[in-house]
């Protein structure tokens, strides 16, 4: 994992703004399949469902939720790929 300043450096980004549950998590999973184990994908979403769904999904799939924050209505998350994804 690369950290630039206090920011996490993501390998790629998933823009799920405007899409409802469960599509943000589905798109994130498909993107994580494209990166290597240990690399990070950034997720942008505005469906508040991700606040509960993302930690639950990461817990079951063993992917690592590095951060999840609300930036004025847009939820920004960084997830590190685990080998099982």
């Amino acid at each position: 994992m690369d950290i630039v300043g206090n920011r996490i450096k993501a390998k790629s980004k998933v823009d799920a703004i405007g899409l409802f549950c469960p599509i943000p998590v589905v798109k994130l999973k498909l993107e994580l399949e494209k990166v290597r184990v240990g690399e990070v994908v950034e997720l942008l979403a505005d469906d508040p469902g991700v606040c509960e769904d993302l930690p639950a999904w990461c817990k079951e799939t063993n992917n690592k939720l590095l951060s999840l924050e609300n930036r004025e209505g847009i939820f920004v998350a960084y997830v590190e790929r685990h080998e099982t994804n």
Binding site: G18, C21, I23, V25, V26, E60
Partner: protein
């Protein structure tokens, strides 16, 4: 980790029911579970190459038609065909009920490409084994 499979029997042709069944399926697929669909009766319409309609609603759904159409138009919720493709990419199996095909006079070659095979309910239940089953 619980990797128990999920099987969904689609019966209704109402868009809202199919949509939510597919949403549950996509969440299960994202969690790494096996998912299989069994299309019976009116839901078979969505598998036909020449569909009478891709957006049908039953009485309950019709009461909310405007809000559904608005959200589809805005791209907030996906079309059934898009959800089918997404589920297929993630490994879901699509089965058609042979009994319903006979009843509705639908031949195997009238189906869209996502359909894996047709089978009876007993075969479907043996595939499902001890996994969860939803009837929608």
């Amino acid at each position: 980790m619980n990797k128990q499979g999920l099987s969904i029997i689609f019966h209704s042709s109402s868009y809202d029911r199919l949509y939510h069944g597919l949403s549950i399926a996509l969440a299960a697929l994202a969690l790494g579970r096996e998912v299989r669909f069994f299309f019976t009766y009116w839901a078979l319409e969505y598998l036909r190459r020449k569909k009478p309609s891709t957006f049908k609603l039953d009485r309950e759904g019709k009461a909310h038609q405007e809000i559904l159409e608005y959200n589809i138009k805005k791209g907030h919720i996906l079309k059934i065909s898009e959800l089918f493709d997404q589920a297929k990419i993630m490994g879901a199996k699509f089965y058609a009920c042979t009994n319903s095909m006979g009843l509705l006079n639908i031949a195997r070659d009238e189906f869209i490409d996502v359909v894996d095979r047709s089978m009876g309910i007993a075969t479907f239940l043996t595939e499902t084994s001890n996994g969860q089953i939803l009837f929608i």
